[in-house]
Symmetry: C2
Subunit: 197 residues, 2 copies
Amino acid sequence: MEDCYMERLEQRIQKDGLVKAGNVLKVDSFLNHQVDVALLEEMGAEFHRLFGHKPITKILTIEASGIAIAVAAARYFQVPVVFAKKSQSINLDGESYSVKIESFTHQRVYDVIVSKKYLSQADHVLIIDDFLARGKALEGLIALIQAAGATVEGIGIAVEKGFQGGGDAIRARGFHLESLAIVERMDEKTGQIYFRR
Amino acid sequence: MEDCYMERLEQRIQKDGLVKAGNVLKVDSFLNHQVDVALLEEMGAEFHRLFGHKPITKILTIEASGIAIAVAAARYFQVPVVFAKKSQSINLDGESYSVKIESFTHQRVYDVIVSKKYLSQADHVLIIDDFLARGKALEGLIALIQAAGATVEGIGIAVEKGFQGGGDAIRARGFHLESLAIVERMDEKTGQIYFRR
């Protein structure tokens, strides 16, 4: 995993990440409420280093907080970004691929959709997202791509909570998944965060 | 308005925008479902040309589709992006500024919040958003900034539907608002789109 180790991100998580009860890691101050644009740039460049040799035609993410990182990465790949949309009251008009995703954070099930116009059999897709825990959102995005007959070329995640198992389950299915930082353990009392090596 | 005229965006709206019943203009193919990253870069540069002389400390947008443009702009300004979050079931814990915004598109009222940690009296804020129609979202963002005691330095919008009046009402309040394209009239039958000159 040395290849995808990004020291500055780990340091930032260590410094500004907040460990909360219930295995919650908050990175609101630099990643998903306020966004540090310089860090975003570095993450985009790193995703390009990791996946730039693949024939990527599109980057797929899910609203809302994946969009910032996906756009930062897309600048290096020079391909369009598509963001899957969350909805609770969807018009299933046959013009979209849709999947149900259970949100751990919000204790809710979303319909997530992508218009059929923006994913096709010809697409080679890089999935980008900010967070990976149990992997429900990611499994949903993979299902959308497969429904379109497109190819999942790779998956780039900013922060993976390794101890929740979602990432390893997806790796075990044979997908090329790279996380820029993998949290192995967090201590709610001390706030200490331990990374996978 | 010559200063903020961006020919490529108008051409793209003319070519790929879809005029739907009820004054709806869909720009899903390049702005708010699939995103053209090269166009996004140009918009970011243009916002910097328009507002780069101001002492901007932060860019504020609202999830989800404002995030892409805000991040593209922030790269030129080298300031953090903050995105206000929509929620229907919010914990009002006193740690956030919040405002209610009525969505025309979704016929719904959202609570929109920004953590008090990310907006302060010292901030000079540039608001960036993809769309401006009746201006409800924008009025809400202005209210959040004012609740924080921060300064609204400017407002940059990608596509304004001028005939819905929201933009002109905000200009009349004295805010420096620039839209990269202002649609003055749309013809549902022919699909023709007319821009403000």
